[in-house]
């Protein structure tokens, strides 16, 4: 290993530190309402989010996000497995799933508000409706595409259908499922924020919007920074968990250095985080409608 651990750390920190420094320097004497000094934003960040609004806004947001995401993941995997195992159902359902997943989920918000009401439920439902598709479609794809010889092996040893699903088919499909879950993660975050910008009384999205409406620019910046931080932590957490669970997959593709004793996060996490942010279109099926709506 030529590059040392410390060297890599410096390389990781150079750009963030430089950007923050630049921001600090250019905003220090700023009198503009739209470009407050970074010190004011940091003060506001401390004031609002350490820890006054953690209980009132951050935790409710995270609760909706977690509930919506988990329901979407479980539903997507369960339904995707059923559909993926039945070739006819898969073909018959394709036009419908293609149509439904093409609807930009934020567009469903008015509809969900009318049908489900104003409470937490409508926000969770919106998150589920948006983030279930990448999981579902990737699970169908993964389950359908399990190697035929692997299945032959399972059948030749008399492995029953249920064990086949849990021990052979789902693990074989898990790399694809993980891709879907990774895409769903950012969709769920986006929808969490969007759902809180309409008919809401708390949450990160609500806070950012109300700060903006009361011309509290520093508060708006602070809220955006918090959302960004939440997204980063959630993504890195996911990648660390995925790296641990799917270690065999990288190993089988020859991507592990040797046979590391203590696997997990660390090496490669940042490069994989980047890859997750810009997923290759072919196999990730990103939710174009969603990202477009937010930009």
């Amino acid at each position: 290993m030529t590059r040392s651990w410390a060297g890599r750390l410096v390389l990781l920190l150079v750009l963030p530190v430089a950007l923050v420094g630049l921001w600090w320097w250019t905003s220090a004497d700023s009198g503009s309402v739209y470009y407050p000094p970074l010190t004011r934003i940091v003060d506001k960040l401390q004031e609002d989010w350490l820890f006054e609004q953690v209980g009132s806004d951050l935790l409710p947001s995270l609760g909706r996000f977690t509930a919506g995401y988990l329901i979407a993941a479980v539903t997507g995997i369960a339904l995707g497995t059923l559909v993926g195992l039945a070739p006819r159902v898969r073909r018959a359902s394709q036009p419908v799933t293609e149509f439904l997943r093409s609807i930009p989920p934020p567009l469903l918000l008015p509809f969900v508000l009318v049908v489900v009401g104003l409470g937490n439920a409508s926000k969770i439902v919106l998150i589920v409706l948006g983030s279930v598709w990448p999981v579902l479609l990737n699970t169908i794809d993964g389950v359908h595409g399990v190697d035929s010889q692997t299945l032959d092996m399972a059948r030749s040893f008399g492995i029953g259908r249920r064990t086949q699903i849990t021990r052979v088919i789902l693990p074989a499909a898990s790399p694809k499922i993980a891709v879907g879950m990774r895409t769903a993660l950012s969709v769920a975050l986006i929808l969490m924020v969007i759902s809180e910008m309409q008919a809401s009384t708390n949450g990160l999205g609500f806070k950012v919007l109300s700060a903006q409406r009361s011309f509290d620019t520093a508060g708006t910046y602070a809220g955006v920074i918090v959302i960004g931080a939440v997204g980063l932590v959630v993504n890195l957490g996911f990648l660390a968990a995925e790296g641990w669970i799917m270690r065999w997959h990288r190993g089988a593709r020859g991507l592990l250095d040797e046979a590391p004793r203590a696997p997990g996060p660390g090496r490669g996490l940042w490069s994989r985080a980047r890859a997750a942010a810009a997923p290759p279109v072919a196999d990730e099926r990103p939710m174009a409608g969603t990202t477009g709506a937010v930009e």
Binding site: Q149, D152, S156, R167, P171, A172, W248, A252
Partner: protein
């Protein structure tokens, strides 16, 4: 005793129909190594899939000890050519070997005993904790053989099991198979495209014709056992058998363009 009687397999129907096997009849004798060779593309794998109950034949019947084979029988185990697709990369070698035993509801103690015996018999006992992708190709195929042995079959079917490894490893695996076979008294049905391998391992060799496939001839291999890579292959009888199998196959591959 595995009886393959008048088995044919046609894929598709109408104008697109392709007859992979026209009519194959053969019977294994208990405790023999029966090698099946034939020109490439003659449907060896199709035949093995029909014989193992993974695929129903279009016509004819497969019977194992008088019982019709409609699904893979409990007393039969398969070793596939491509170990990387037949070993599960998300499980350790040990768990790969144990999985079929779990499915067959073998009690835990018994399962562990069978697994460690099988792993020991292929020389992998210290590597059970490893994952398939941490092992070389030859070792992975050893693991696949261990999985088949732990399943305690009476008949072992192998589909070009040594085709994906280098020559030296192939020789080692051939000897491993002979050693296991002579110790257990298994019946072995081995599909291969390697004539040397068929002569070296086999008790009998079935030569298949080019597509549409039939049994062209059956050759008895009366080379003395135990066999070894150097001594056996030096025997004039070995050279003679090798030449006659080769001639038989060559005749078929020359005939092939006329058919297709």
């Amino acid at each position: 005793m595995l009886e393959i009687e008048g088995v044919s397999k046609t894929y598709g129907s109408g104008d697109d129909a392709f007859t992979a096997i026209a009519e194959v009849t053969l019977t294994t004798r208990p405790g023999e190594v029966l090698c099946i060779v034939g020109p490439s593309g003659c449907g060896k794998t199709t035949l093995l899939r029909c014989a193992s109950g993974l695929m129903p034949p279009t016509a004819g019947a497969v019977r194992l000890d008088e019982h019709p084979v409609t699904a893979p029988p409990r007393t039969m185990a398969l070793v596939f050519q491509d170990y990387s697709r037949s070993l599960l990369p998300w499980m350790s070698i040990h768990d790969n070997v144990v999985l079929p035993l779990k499915a067959a509801r073998v009690a835990r103690d018994e399962r562990e005993r069978l697994a460690s015996e099988a792993l020991a018999s292929v020389g992998l006992d210290p590597l059970g904790r490893k994952y398939p992708w941490q092992l070389s190709g030859g070792m992975q195929q050893r693991a696949a053989i261990a999985r088949a042995l732990a399943y305690q079959p009476e008949i072992l079917l192998l589909d070009e099991p040594f085709a994906s490894v280098d020559a030296q490893t192939r020789a080692d695996l051939e000897d491993l198979l002979l050693e296991v076979w002579s110790r257990t008294g298994l019946t072995v049905l081995l599909v291969t495209h390697d004539i040397d391998e068929a002569v070296y391992l086999g008790s009998r060799i079935v030569v298949l014709s080019a597509s549409p496939t039939r049994v062209k001839e059956t050759i008895h291999v009366d080379l003395p056992r135990p066999r070894d890579q150097i001594g056996t292959k030096e025997l004039p009888e070995f050279a003679h058998l090798r030449a006659s199998v080769f001639a038989s196959i060559k005749e078929e591959s020359l005939r092939r363009p006329v058919d297709t």
